[in-house]
């Protein structure tokens, strides 16, 4: 069914782009991080493109940690490797890697208006379209319907309510013998994911966005300190102490085996948690993340595909990039992985609404999502993010209060900034 749909889209694409020009078969390499079922879905997705064009796709898999992926990509690109043609890139990487990628403006000019302008803008550096969006991302609060019902609780809308509900259910269930149950799992490892989680806490308490759009360092303030101290109080009470080493997949592991009441995670976990091997199948739902008093905040995520300028098969690679980011490609991804499309028309699509009800509900969440400060901090974003997550991780581990650590962080960030970002 989806394959048929796919082929129709593909032939249209083939006619409208340079794709018809490639006479011989190439092998293009596509590098992607292995999170959840991303690799399997991609293998399925590229099949119709391979049939149509005669090219083949070699999928190169990378570790799930985005920091590890970035380090490897930077090395490959700095060395100008021709082995990889397409890179799947995080939304925050565009300013740092822009020099190494092909400008897609010309190739994609017909389809660009379909996408949300904010996403296209995030991938445009000095007028150059660095990557095509594959999907966008905004995290959700996953909750156990059955447990909330059992204890007569509402879905929490503030962090305070979440902590109280989680504590009550955790105590109640443990008394009933479920010793491994925890209230709330999230991503507390010292890596890019913690920057996302912590930015949400800080923003929802009215503590700003670390570095504001105009480049001012705003992180050292009372609200931000309160937000991070609140999170630190969860560790060991409603969240397992080990949450400080969890990335997305570890928290999903605890959640999907039925050992958590709440989880903060990206939409990809929705499809997996509904799978037949999931202990929480049919027992859970999602809601926007709670508020700290200044509204709910969700960090803008999302993945894109970029074509390496060192690639020997640029035409084939560009055609694959356009194919994967097309409406058909994004629909397939939405149905298979629960990823949010970057094409606004798909939020009204009946089939998506029926099979992945999360997606139409998520449009407004993601439209108000908070970007990480990758645009104002430019090439120094990684260092800023690492300093931020380290300061948060220290606080969560109990090394100093948030106020103390944020004061040091401000000093460090001033140093990194120097005279200008």
């Amino acid at each position: 069914m989806t394959t048929k749909l796919f082929k129709t889209g593909l032939s249209a694409l083939a006619m409208s782009t340079i794709l018809g020009g490639s006479a011989w078969a190439d092998e293009v390499s596509y590098v992607i991080g292995a999170v959840g079922n991303a690799v399997q879905v991609l293998e399925e997705m590229v099949k119709p493109w391979e049939e149509q064009t005669g090219h083949t796709v070699k999928i190169v898999t990378m570790p799930a940690s985005t920091s590890d992926q970035f380090a490897q990509y930077r090395l490959w690109l700095a060395a100008g490797t021709t082995d990889i043609d397409l890179y799947q890139t995080d939304v925050i990487w565009a300013p740092q890697l822009a020099d190494h990628f092909v400008d897609l403006t010309e190739a994609a000019k017909d389809v660009l208006p379909q996408h949300f302008p904010s996403i296209i803008e995030s991938q445009t550096v000095d007028g150059k379209l660095v990557a095509m969006p594959l999907y966008t991302d905004a995290p959700a609060l996953y909750y156990r319907k059955d447990l909330l019902e059992k204890y007569g609780k509402e879905v929490p809308t503030t962090w305070e309510e979440l902590a109280a509900t989680a504590q009550e259910i955790q105590d109640g269930e443990r008394a009933a013998g479920a010793n491994d149950l925890w209230g709330y799992v999230w991503q507390g490892n010292a890596y890019e994911g913690l920057t996302c989680d912590a930015l949400e806490w800080v923003k929802s308490f009215g503590g700003g966005q670390i570095v504001e759009a105009d480049g001012t360092i705003s992180i050292n303030n009372e609200n931000a300190a309160k937000a991070i101290d609140t999170a630190a109080s969860w560790v060991g009470s409603i969240s397992p102490p080990g949450v400080l080493s969890y990335q997305e997949e570890e928290s999903r592991g605890v959640w999907q085996t039925g050992n958590a009441v709440f989880m903060r995670n990206w939409p990809y976990a929705y499809a997996l948690s509904s799978g037949d091997d999931s202990a929480v199948k049919g027992k859970f739902d999602v809601a926007p993340l709670p508020s700290g008093g200044e509204g709910s905040a969700a960090t803008l995520g999302g993945w894109n595909v970029a074509v390496s300028k060192y690639s020997d098969n640029q035409d084939a690679a560009i055609s694959l990039a356009l194919f994967l980011s097309s409406a058909e490609g994004q629909k397939f991804r939405a149905l298979e992985s629960g990823h949010l499309p970057s094409i606004s028309a798909l939020y009204e699509d009946a089939e998506i609404a029926e099979k992945v009800p999360l997606i139409p509900r998520w449009k407004e969440v993601f439209e108000s999502a908070v970007p990480r400060p990758s645009a104002p901090t430019k090439g120094k974003y990684n260092e800023v993010s690492a300093k931020f997550w380290s300061a948060v991780h220290e606080t969560l581990s109990g090394n100093g209060t948030a106020a103390e650590n944020l004061e040091l962080l401000e000093l460090d960030l001033e140093d990194v900034k120097g005279s200008a970002w």
Partner: protein, 319 residues
């Protein structure tokens, strides 16, 4: 002195001719070493004195010792010091590395010695035991780090499960996450992995010890503990010293295990990890090169110190 005078008088001596031949035999090796060891080292030192970044390696400009230490006057008149030598993250990494090296080498030597003594004894199935003991050493570090990562996982890990069932702990421990236990976790895995290496090197030393000394000791009725300290230990000391120096060199530049098991934890970040982080993650290639250079210098200091102390002891033993 007299030799030299004589050699000068009567043309090249046999000794000199042999030395010359030896030099020509060694030359290809020296050239290879220059390209694989000296050149990268010199290049790193050069990079550490420039402002190179990963995307701009070849047009880097010379900035002297700025990456190590620089003094800056702020517009407010305040003087600040910048550079690796005043970077608290760097000194934290140095301290972690030194702590890790001494603890791991200490435990590995003790356990390696015990294992070697067991393997040196005659018993049935000795060859199987020897092969089995080598398994941890044969597994690639990345694989064993990942494997232990899962075993030490707080929720699904087998270690916590065993300890809980034995009643040794009453709450699951987040081994790799908590700053108090992260270093212990790294040490456990490293000791597990590297003890066989130590055992093997010590075993080689043990097998050189002549059997008749033990026989003589047995006939004299000397207590086995005394035999160990008075006979075995002094005789295997040279082998032990070499084994320890190998391990110390290895431990001081530890990277893979820490990088996989406890990435980014400031409680375990070592010198190699932090220099890689600066070079690649933060795009401060020159700064990372400065840290690599310091890493090299620190290792050189430790090794010279060790050899110097070791030689003093050895000559004392020979007298």
């Amino acid at each position: 002195m007299t030799d030299q005078v004589m050699a000068q008088a009567s043309g090249p001596s046999l000794q000199q001719r042999r030395q010359r031949a030896a030099f020509w035999f060694l030359a290809p090796m020296l050239v290879a070493l220059f390209f694989v060891a000296a050149w990268p080292l010199l290049r790193t030192i050069w990079f550490s004195m420039t402002d190179a970044t990963l995307s701009n390696l070849y047009d880097a400009e010379w900035i002297g010792f700025g990456n190590y230490l620089q003094v800056r006057e702020l517009s407010s008149g305040r003087t600040v010091y910048r550079g690796t030598l005043v970077d608290p993250d760097w000194w934290n990494a140095v301290w972690n590395t030194v702590r890790f090296s001494f603890a791991s080498v200490f435990f590995e030597t003790i356990f390696g010695l015990i294992v070697a003594l067991v393997m040196n004894a005659e018993f049935k199935g000795r060859s199987i035991v020897r092969a089995a003991i080598l398994i941890p050493w044969a597994i690639p570090t990345i694989v064993s780090a990942k494997m232990w990562g899962w075993m030490l996982n707080d929720q699904f890990g087998i270690i916590n499960d065993i300890l809980l069932n034995l009643g040794l702990i009453d709450q699951k421990i987040a081994w790799t996450a908590s700053p108090e236990t992260a270093m212990t976790a790294v040490l456990i895995v490293d000791v597990w992995k590297t003890t066989p290496f130590m055992a093997l090197l010590i075993l080689a030393g043990l097998q050189m010890v002549p059997r008749d000394i033990y026989e003589a000791a047995r006939i004299d009725g000397i207590n086995p503990v005394k035999v160990f300290f008075k006979v075995t230990l002094p005789l295997i000391k040279p082998a032990l010293m070499v084994a320890v120096i190998f391990r110390l060199l290895d431990a001081l530049r530890i990277f893979d295990l820490v990088y996989v098991l406890t990435p980014n934890s400031s409680a375990t970040k070592t010198m190699s990890v932090i220099s890689r982080e600066n070079m690649i993650d933060f795009d401060k290639f020159a700064y990372g090169a400065a840290q690599s250079t310091l890493l090299f210098a620190i290792i050189a200091v430790f090794v010279s110190l060790y050899i110097w102390i070791g030689r003093v002891d050895l000559s004392g033993g020979r007298d």
